[in-house]
């Protein structure tokens, strides 16, 4: 298939997933931080702003302090923020428009409706009913994924959508873990506080109930981290997502008589998977967590670059210290 089309489908999926995950993060933490102590709340919100990369100069310039209002405004609505939910949804829609012939009309309608939902929403109302509004956005984003799966033939175009979706999800879960792990450390002395934070962390990844069902009673840092990183069955766990990515690359590779010109994405992904699969969780707890997650995100970004180089022939971006969220390259 055309590189441009594959790229648009891939990024459409990535942006929708990003929008969904950030919305969930905001919704859960808005709820959780409502009854936190002011100092904790501020720290909490500050750590959330960093979800997309290190200290964003734009946020610091625009808002005096990090609180529910400013962070929601910045992460959800801010048009100048390339990773705000609204920006992501707009970009997803632009991509979908360019490949309207390759997606089903139901998909296009769903993407379009999500877009108009954010465009037409009264911001004041949305903030007053933040939880409901966020739930609505999240539902619509998930609906798109379901519609995609049900109405597209599962051939190469669909595989690129899945690739984008799962790569983004792996990235997001890792980032959420990174963000919240540091914040967790404030509460190590108090078991009840600690539990609350772990629950919030799990909820931020929609993992609380599945976790409960699987780990009968244990709510400690080690188990939670393990669950989010290397669980095989939970669909937002990093390893689960990477396995799915691997599967799509294999499907894409098989879909032809001519072999792909570079096997690099598959090999890099395979290695990352293996490292995660055989990870000793004790080696990364405590102060090792942050460098570990940073390395992980860097490697994930490199895989994204390699995918672009192999399938889309676009220019490459170099990863940062703490890697920034990848953006679609304009051609």
């Amino acid at each position: 298939m055309l590189s441009r089309v594959a790229e648009s489908l891939y990024w459409m999926a990535r942006y929708i997933e990003r929008a969904e995950d950030v919305t969930r993060l905001l919704a859960v933490n808005f709820n959780a931080l409502l009854d936190a102590q002011p100092a904790d709340a501020r720290q909490g919100w500050e750590s959330i702003v960093r979800i997309n990369g290190d200290d964003d100069p734009l946020f610091a310039e625009t808002y005096p302090e990090a609180n529910s209002q400013s962070v929601i405004q910045y992460l959800f609505w801010e048009p100048l923020n390339p990773n705000s939910v609204v920006t992501c949804i707009t970009r997803a829609r632009e991509n979908a428009r360019g490949v309207r012939e390759q997606i089903s009309s139901e998909m296009w309608e769903a993407v379009n409706r999500l877009y108009f939902l954010t465009r037409n929403a009264e911001r004041a109302d949305a903030l007053n009913n933040a939880t409901q509004f966020f739930d609505l956005i999240r539902d619509r984003a998930q609906a798109i994924q379901g519609i995609t799966s049900a109405t597209m033939t599962h051939t190469e175009p669909y595989q690129f959508i899945q690739l984008g979706l799962y790569l983004e999800r792996a990235d997001k879960t890792a980032r959420i873990l990174d963000t919240k792990y540091m914040y967790l450390n404030r509460f190590l002395s108090s078991p009840s506080e600690s539990s609350l934070q772990l629950i919030t962390l799990l909820r931020s990844c929609s993992a609380f109930e599945p976790y409960r069902r699987s780990s009968a009673g244990q709510l400690d840092v080690e188990s939670v981290v393990e669950y989010l990183l290397i669980n095989h069955e939970f669909p937002r766990a990093v390893l689960f997502c990477l396995n799915r990515c691997q599967h799509t690359l294999e499907e894409i590779g098989e879909d032809t008589t001519v072999p792909t010109k570079s096997d690099a994405p598959r090999r890099m992904l395979g290695r990352l998977n293996a490292d995660l699969e055989y990870l000793d969780i004790h080696e990364i707890l405590g102060e090792n967590m942050e460098p570990f997650l940073r390395r992980f995100l860097t490697r994930l970004n490199s895989i994204g670059d390699e995918i672009a180089r192999t399938y889309f022939n676009t220019s490459i971006i170099l990863p940062d210290e703490r890697p920034r969220q990848q953006q679609q390259q304009q051609q």
Binding site: L2, E156, K261
Partner: protein
């Protein structure tokens, strides 16, 4: 009879519909349908208002559901509109079509030879049959094409020729469209819709099919591939989603089973054209392009064009790719050159034209220019390179100030204008606001020219949907009908 009250068109058909003073396709006189329309008239007399409304509803839903739209220029959001469709079919008897078909084939052959001649030996210019200045001053004459040999010597592969019928009952060619004629998707969808809502009528008429157009188009494109490959790669090059005809581009690409690409999907390498795919570069043999010459290659034409492919012209020169239609074909559909088509037919084919041109006055000729300026109130004046009904003055319908403004245009650049007498275009019963009215129509058959000429019977009948209007273009309030060519 009780039934009379419910029937939609009975009274109209028998007493109220007066075709005069125009040639009416359906009626020769009040209440007297032409022989090939009798069955339709009889059928219409059984249709009630409800039935009609139902058919209208089905038709509208079909078009909407299929997304058969076009985008109106100048709208911010790119408003998509359904191209208005009239339920009354336009019927052409076989013998009439036969003549049209032969006339078109003759015309296209001559035009193609003209293009080859203009870009090579220019014999017709040396014989002074056509003034050289007229050719070289045409905006679409491309120096770059001089001496360039194109695959199979075919310049025009897809032609849309507009034909009208005058009040003498004769067909005339109004103009040829040799660059990127559109509308064929409407022709195809109109037929699909008619089959749904008038299935019974199809049983009573023997109508020539048209659904094979996309296959014929594909065959045509493949037959002009640059080398003798068994399976040439054909692509459709589109300007993209913001183009008003984008729907048609995707429609045709899908029907032909070929890839639809934009300029940025193609790359020139070692004078060959490749598509950028997830498997790497794939060689492209034939490009069916719906992009104007100006935007095709930023290295050769407009430098700031982002729609084309840098290096395409070089690949074309090297003979490694076919461009359909070729570059520089616009010189032959320049309205001033159009006036010389009969000369072309005589010169290249030694034949008399089967289909005649509409009498045309050239602004370029001083005496004719004077005639134009003195008769602005009676003539239709056209800028030679516009389309879509723009750059046109319909003298009898224009206001004094509009005519004066046009006078200034013509005087400033006489070579750029031609004029034709206001044709009394034929009319056809059309449903306007629930009533049958005679509306002016034309006909645009689509001619394919690959290894041979192929013309799918009929074409798009366009209808002016405003009472008394002569403008049939979609962008200015026109609509279309299904065209039925009858088998013998």
């Amino acid at each position: 009879m009780v039934k009379l009250k419910l029937v939609m068109f009975d009274s109209v058909l028998s007493t109220l519909y007066d075709p005069a003073p125009f040639y009416d396709e359906m009626f020769s006189a009040v209440g007297e349908p032409r022989p090939h329309y009798t069955v339709l008239r009889d059928h219409l007399q059984t249709i009630t208002a409800e039935m009609l409304a139902e058919r209208r509803r089905v038709a509208d839903a079909a078009f909407l559901y299929q997304g058969i739209t076009f985008t109106v220029y100048g709208q911010e959001q790119g408003i998509e509109r359904i191209f208005p469709f009239d339920l009354m079919p336009r019927i052409i008897p076989h013998n009439e079509w036969d003549r049209i078909e032969r006339g078109l084939a003759q015309r296209v052959t001559a035009l193609n030879l003209f293009l080859h001649d203009i870009y090579h030996d220019q014999r017709i210019l040396r014989e002074k049959l056509i003034p050289s200045e007229l050719v070289f001053s045409s905006r679409h004459f491309r120096r770059e094409m001089m001496g360039l040999d194109v695959p199979k010597n075919r310049y025009v592969h897809v032609v849309g020729t507009d034909i009208v019928r005058g009040d003498d009952g004769e067909y005339y060619v109004l103009e040829d469209n040799l660059r990127s004629p559109s509308g064929v998707s409407y022709m195809l969808e109109n037929r699909q819709v008619m089959k749904r809502i008038f299935a019974d009528l199809f049983g009573r008429y023997d109508v020539e099919p048209i659904e094979h157009y996309p296959q014929e188009l594909l065959n045509t494109l493949r037959s002009v591939a640059p080398h003798e490959y068994s399976d040439p790669t054909v692509v459709l090059l589109t300007p993209g989603i913001y183009n008003s005809a984008y729907f048609e581009h995707t429609f045709l690409a899908r029907q032909m089973g070929i890839e639809i690409v934009e300029g940025r999907d193609l790359v020139a390498h070692q004078n060959k054209i490749y598509m950028r795919t997830t498997r790497g570069l794939k060689l492209v043999d034939v490009i069916y392009r719906r992009i104007d010459d100006d935007f095709l290659d930023p290295l050769a034409f407009k430098q700031d064009s982002e729609l084309g492919v840098a290096g395409l012209l070089n690949a074309y020169r090297a003979g490694n790719v076919t461009i359909a239609n070729s570059i520089g074909t616009g010189v032959a559909d320049d309205k001033a050159i159009y006036a010389f088509t009969p000369e072309m037919i005589r010169f290249y084919l030694s034949e008399e034209p089967i289909l005649n041109n509409v009498p045309t006055y050239l602004g370029w000729r001083e005496k004719e220019c004077d005639h134009i300026l003195n008769n602005l109130d009676k003539l239709v004046v056209k800028a030679v390179n516009e389309s879509g009904g723009y750059g046109m003055l319909v003298g009898p319908h224009a206001s004094q100030s509009e005519r004066e403004k046009f006078r200034e245009h013509v005087q400033a650049n006489p070579r750029n204008y031609i004029a034709q007498p206001t044709l009394a275009l034929s009319c056809h019963p059309t449903i306007l606001e629930g009533q049958l009215h005679g509306c002016h129509i034309d006909l645009r058959p689509y001619i394919l020219y690959g290894d041979k000429v192929t013309i799918v019977p009929g074409g798009l009948t366009r209808v002016a949907l405003r009472k008394g209007s002569l403008v049939v273009n979609s962008s200015q309030g026109g609509g279309s009908k299904d065209t039925w060519v009858l088998r013998d």
